[in-house]
């Protein structure tokens, strides 16, 4: 069993890392870059059914700034 969890900043939360990357891409000449958003992807392998949502609320995200998306497969 495998789950992929994508954790990203909520809409409206300032993403300083994304902003910095955008600036660097502009400096490299990619003038068409409008916005860069950073996300973390956790790939979790399990040998039995686990509550992946609880993993998100207990450790992987802070609900104040994060939203997450779980894909099982």
């Amino acid at each position: 069993m495998k789950a992929e969890i994508k954790v990203e900043l909520k809409e409206g939360v300032f993403d300083p890392e994304g902003e910095n990357i955008k600036k660097a891409l502009h400096l490299l000449g990619f003038s068409g870059v409008q916005n860069v958003k950073l996300a973390k992807v956790y790939t979790i392998e399990m040998d039995k059914e686990e509550n992946v949502q609880e993993m998100c609320t207990k450790l992987l995200t802070n609900p104040v700034i994060h939203m997450y998306d779980i894909r099982k497969g």
Partner: protein, 254 residues
């Protein structure tokens, strides 16, 4: 009068425990550096103060303080809750503040974080002296004066305090320290190194016994830790010393 016992909690990656230890020792307390694995609900009660020092616990993986908090939660959550409810002082410096927020102990007791110490607006590690104005009192500030400005160094990459309950915190007087400029005005970058809401540098819980701050009082304990110490004629200690004196006094009165 027996010296108060202070537990300085550490796991892999904490790196300010020695200075924190020395600060308490110098002031006549009895500090002990305890690894999280050694601490049990029973042994916790032997201490009159619990400190979570700065550093990069568990490499700041996931988020700063998140893994330390998860490990505390798994073994000690109800014991810690009781400890706090009994009024014992619990302090977190820098990474320790991040741990207390992730643990749901600051800004108030909750089963999920009600605030976050997010990545600095500058997206980089900010390391320099910062000026803090004392706004309200808590267990860690009784020896300081409201309205006074204290110079205590900051060193962090994730210190931007944000909370959906920020207005409530401000009304409750839970903002303890706020970053200011030399004129004492709440100012933006670089005076506020991280972009915190209301320039918040340190907060307490509603009871005033749990306290976290991003700047490092243990790095401003001796006057010679101040960058301009040779220009001062004062022989008094550094400003951070008052934080430790305050909590020792508070713990003594418990």
């Amino acid at each position: 009068m027996s010296p108060i016992k202070v537990c300085i909690l550490r796991i892999e990656g904490t790196n300010c425990e020695q200075e924190t230890f020395d600060a308490f020792l110098e002031l006549g307390a009895h500090p002990e550096m305890i690894h999280l694995k050694e601490l049990t609900p029973e042994t916790l009660l032997e201490y009159q103060c619990l400190m979570i020092p700065g550093g990069f616990s568990s490499g700041d993986y996931v988020r700063a303080g998140a893994i330390f908090a998860a490990r505390m939660k798994s073994r000690l959550f109800s014991a810690l809750k009781k400890y706090v409810e009994h009024g014992y002082p619990v302090g977190g410096i820098c990474n320790g503040f991040q741990v207390l927020v992730e643990l749901g102990f600051l800004p108030r007791l909750s089963d999920h974080p009600e605030a976050c110490l997010a990545t600095n607006d500058s997206a980089r590690f900010e390391c320099r002296p910062t000026l803090l104005k004392l706004e309200n009192h808590c267990a860690f500030t009784q020896k300081m004066d409201i309205g006074s400005i204290y110079e205590i160094p900051s060193a962090h990459a994730e210190g931007k305090f944000v909370s959906p309950y920020i207005e409530e915190l401000m009304e409750n007087g839970q903002a303890i320290f706020r970053y200011v400029n030399p004129q004492g005005e709440y100012a933006g970058y670089p005076w506020n190194p991280n972009g915190s809401q209301y320039s918040i540098a340190g907060v307490t819980n509603e009871q005033g016994n749990v306290f976290g701050m991003m700047p490092h009082p243990e790095r401003a304990f001796h006057i010679y830790q101040n960058q301009e110490w040779t220009r001062h004629s004062s022989t008094a200690g550094g400003h951070g010393r008052l934080v430790f004196e305050s909590v020792i006094e508070y713990a003594r009165r418990l």
